[in-house]
Symmetry: D2
Subunit: 377 residues, 4 copies
């Protein structure tokens, strides 16, 4: 099978090329690049020498020669390639935000500054968070060529951490806060002052606080999760804060979820726990209970690891893998669930998740080509 990558020289595209080169079902890659058309991918990424090779074509030529197409273009420029793939009858997996909002064109256009060019395509597109939409993707793939809106990196780490709480009635309403710390590879390959080594090394920088465009994607996904699990659409307020830290890969998210009345830990007489004191036995036990609930919820999701008690979700334990690690905590007063998650933003947060989608669509083993083992160092 030939896999095409449109926009193969950006970081997400190159990571796709790297991972797909080791995928047993992919015999060949077709790569495109506007900036480097006619050059070889291994001249742009000399690390690929002897392992990944290929001329950089036009996007149209990638589509015509491929059996599945991944698009790793910037936002708002690739819809026409989705249309071309549908016309040809092949699946299109888009790593940009263009197909993540379905029929919510108003939200998309408010944040990305552009109306839909092919509104019909968005109606049929599926949000490619496999752990949420696996069944839907499987079934739709039997009907014809799909458009997958591959989730954003932050929304992936946030939604996977919140899903069981939302689905199982732990969430008690009120504000859900997601505070994420990310590495620099998320900023892409183009040099800029923010990602200039001397400016971002040895520093932590909050940015786009309360105004990052992954906010509506996160809110939309959390709401969908609740509805899909049988809840009514919640009037959920979601707050998202990103910070840039000096690492290459990885997103660490802390997710604060108010517990429903039934799940709160209380002292006698319904009083909350004394938050001035160290974690009580009750809190420790409830934490273990929720941990088990999380583990059970994800028992068939091979890329989710609900960590043993006492182990926090560090990004270097998922680096270079498609895993999302999750650890479960309850605050000292017993009323808030604190979930921390870790993903490799370039793999589970981008290229790996896209391949996971491809595996589902084609009926391959979901882990195929994605069984890399995390590199601690």
């Amino acid at each position: 099978m030939i896999a095409g990558i449109i926009g193969a020289t950006g970081y997400a595209g190159a990571e796709l090329a790297r991972l797909l080169s080791g995928h047993p079902e992919i015999k060949k890659l077709a790569l495109s690049s506007v900036s480097y058309e006619g050059e070889q991918i291994e001249d742009i990424y000399p690390g690929f020498l002897g392992r990944v090779s290929g001329s950089l074509l036009k996007a149209e030529d990638v589509i015509s020669s491929s059996d599945v197409v991944f698009s790793a273009l910037p936002h708002a420029v690739g819809e026409k390639y989705a249309a071309a793939c549908m016309e040809k009858g092949i699946h299109y997996i888009d790593l940009s935000a263009d197909f993540r909002f379905g029929s919510d064109e108003d939200v998309y256009s408010a944040w990305y500054g552009k109306m839909y060019q092919f509104p019909k395509l968005h109606e049929k597109s599926i949000y490619g968070l496999v752990e949420l939409n696996r069944q839907k993707i499987k079934e739709a793939a039997l009907q014809g060529p799909l458009i997958i809106g591959n989730p954003g990196c932050y929304p992936t780490g946030a939604a996977l951490g919140a899903f069981p709480a939302l689905a199982k009635g732990l969430y008690g309403g009120g504000t859900v806060i997601i505070d994420s710390v990310t590495g620099a590879s998320g900023g892409g390959r183009e040099p800029s002052r923010t990602f200039h080594y001397s400016e971002c090394a040895d520093s932590v920088l909050p940015y786009k606080v309360a105004s990052h465009r992954h906010s509506p994607e996160i809110a939309r996904t959390l709401a969908q999760m609740t509805v899909m699990s049988g809840g009514s659409k919640p009037s959920m307020q979601v707050i998202f804060t990103p910070r840039l830290a000096p690492l290459n890969r990885g997103i660490s998210s802390a997710i604060y979820i108010p517990l429903s009345y039934a799940w709160r830990v209380t002292q006698d007489n319904e009083k909350p726990m004394n938050a001035a004191m160290p974690p009580s036995k009750e809190i420790e036990e409830k934490t273990l209970e929720i941990r088990r609930l999380y583990a059970d919820f994800y028992k068939n999701d091979k890329f989710i690891r609900v960590l043993p008690a006492g182990i926090c979700a560090a990004t270097n334990r998922v680096r270079h893998s498609n895993f999302c690690d999750i650890s479960v905590h309850i605050d000292l007063s017993g009323s808030l669930l604190i979930i921390t998650t870790a993903i490799d933003n370039m793999i589970k947060g981008a290229a790996g998740q896209a391949i996971q989608n491809m595996n589902i669509i084609f009926g391959f083993d979901e882990e195929m080509g994605l069984k890399t083992i995390p590199m601690l160092f």
Copy 2:
């Protein structure tokens, strides 16, 4: 004037030595170390060669030869030195947690595992967050020798970000969440696996989530701030999550404070703003208003910089300084205040703040010895 440092070879002690060596009123240092008694500080820290020099003495000899004593010992071992200083009649500034809890011995002992040895001393000790207790420290210093409990690094960045909101009625009750990302120097000088380069480089690690012993200090300080500003003691729930990121110095804190009814941003008919949409003009204007309120609140605090709109509080902009940078945001729904702060954990979060306390006590210019300019890179 001779300044003594007990525990001078740990990171906080050495940073004190570094900064005090440039303080115009300090003519000499007296240094102690249990581990390196009899050696020279510049043999332990060769970077000091030609700049800071001194034999490492016994703690008792430091006290007997000093006019003011800083203690940079681990928690729960230094109370007797405070007692000795009081007996001698000299001020004692303690960088450990031992004197941060005043008469709340139950809270201290629950978290630090030790009862007070000299309970009377704690009654008279003052929590050395200058921006909160400047006047109290000044006045008490006129009465006799003081014991200052120098604040913890996390509590400093958290409390300074929340203070104006608490003091000016912006806080509307409910849970205050503090999510802090810290550099490795806070872990001190002793090697351990957590701070082993290969284990913490290129990674973000949440740790002691909902169980860090700075939690009660933060909660206590926020409550005091509210009371001191004329509010009634709030039933405030405070949640604190620390994460370790690969940088040397710096703490970036995000502080989530529910806004009081009066300060919320609403659409017509009192409806909250539509959080699915980008920041509204109303939110931007209210953010500027709160920013001005913050700037006004701190107008006499030389080490607090409320940043211009559009500039986030990055740790490399305060590195190597005693500044606490603050930036102000409101979430998309208009109902939560999001404050981000940045401090150098070794300076404003430890040694610098201790010297700021000394300056207040002795009536020196508060900035004396602390006018370093941040190093961007």
Copy 3:
């Protein structure tokens, strides 16, 4: 086939476990650890969860249940396991220095402080630099169980860079200088001040200058290379300087080799080039010629990449791979060859090279299990 790893919880051992878990011919691992006997490897390395699993046994039990044994123990403690493997009749690949010196016991003992315990074993051991000894290893493996002294990380990067120059008469005698910059993973898993994050981040530290015990290994290997290529044993003086830089993986080596008369670039009248001026056309042409010679020399070595002109050997282009990248330069005066090499010290410099040896020994494809693609970021 079952592979055993003695000392599986150190960094080299864990990296072996990680790589061997993806090796098509290895069906199972048997792991030992003195420190963690009875525990699970995935509890020590939580990143392994769901990918690598196994109880930590005694070394003896690893040997009895394995078809090939890797030893990743510290120096000078593992000879008896080599003896046990020989007795059992299975191959033993030792990542420590114990079997790198063959019959030069005096050199080994002078640097490692211990005499050989089983001198006979050293006579038959082979230095496992595959690019030098591939044929020898292949042939010996047909005769019976082997002991491989897997090369040190620095010697690997140094020797591979010098080999063609020594073998093809480019070396003109005189001092060969190797200046290597390494990442922190080479220091192993045990915490120490040198590798404490705050002490080694954001700094470059030369260490053991002119006294590192990889010096004699490098010198010995370069001499062997010359002899094996038909030269007489040179009176070669080799200088080796290591420096620690703040990265996880990677060794960058610069190798300075005086050119023989025939290979020098000269102006007319045999005068050396004017070194005050930018590189001349003659130097550029000769550089290309030597580059071609290098590429030709290594044309059958799949893990050596002689880089195109203009591309330097950066460690992030080999990270996570078994490649050794090489770039070729001539100094401005035309009389010295400057080779730079880059390896991943944990893979080509340790675990990967050990597996490469196993592949040769068992007649597997030399690249089997080692076709990972470098991660740029």
Copy 4:
């Protein structure tokens, strides 16, 4: 006194502004910037808020209002400002390469691609390596306004390490090799792929091997040192290799100097030491002797620290200071001197050294404004 900085918004210019703001004799700064004319320096560098402030002027206005002018412009654009300063009668300290080559216009133009615009100015300019030319600068300053060519960062670390060996007859002829590892701040403020965080973090990259334009400056300076010390101009071949490592500030240089016959360490019968063996007692003793010679040579140079035996020159021990640390080694064969040096490339390698020149010129204490204490972490 008013100090002017032309090109104040680049890294070197901003570092000058930072350091000069703390200089007791500088009452005011006048700053220029082409890119940001009319803006405030603290808007470009928000870290300066409350400490360094100033409108960015035209270069001409800086000159007209200053008593001394520093130029931190790129190469080959600032000669006219030197001319203007001479006309006005004020000193001009140039941090670019423009005035480092004196009358060697051919060398300068070959490497920097431009002929001199005002050749006369170059005749009177002085190379501002204070440890070499202190007396010359002092005397010339009495005669009238000076032009100082402030040394490059690499040449500073290289030349200071070699000076005593050249001056005292330790150098025995032959090739001197300088291998330097630098941090990213040397690349300046403009974003580029080389200094893009994801491309340079966690990696070591050799670049411009045998073709960096600091090569001729280093060679020229080493030759001058030899001549000034009474030697005849040596036919010295100098090789320089730079490598980029992931740190902010700092240059670590290893300098390989063949020892003269008189200084070599030999066994009986004039045979070189056995380089296969660990350092001999003779080598250790000779190393100490040379160390003493170095310490004595620099005994009046306050910014040079010849480190005690056993301590290597790490860049974090000079970070944020004007120190050049030096450690002394001899190779195992006893025939080569290996010097390692460490400087902060932005201070001793740029802004600090420029201020040191100003101090000399104006007769201030040479350490004035430069007594910062290195920051270990």
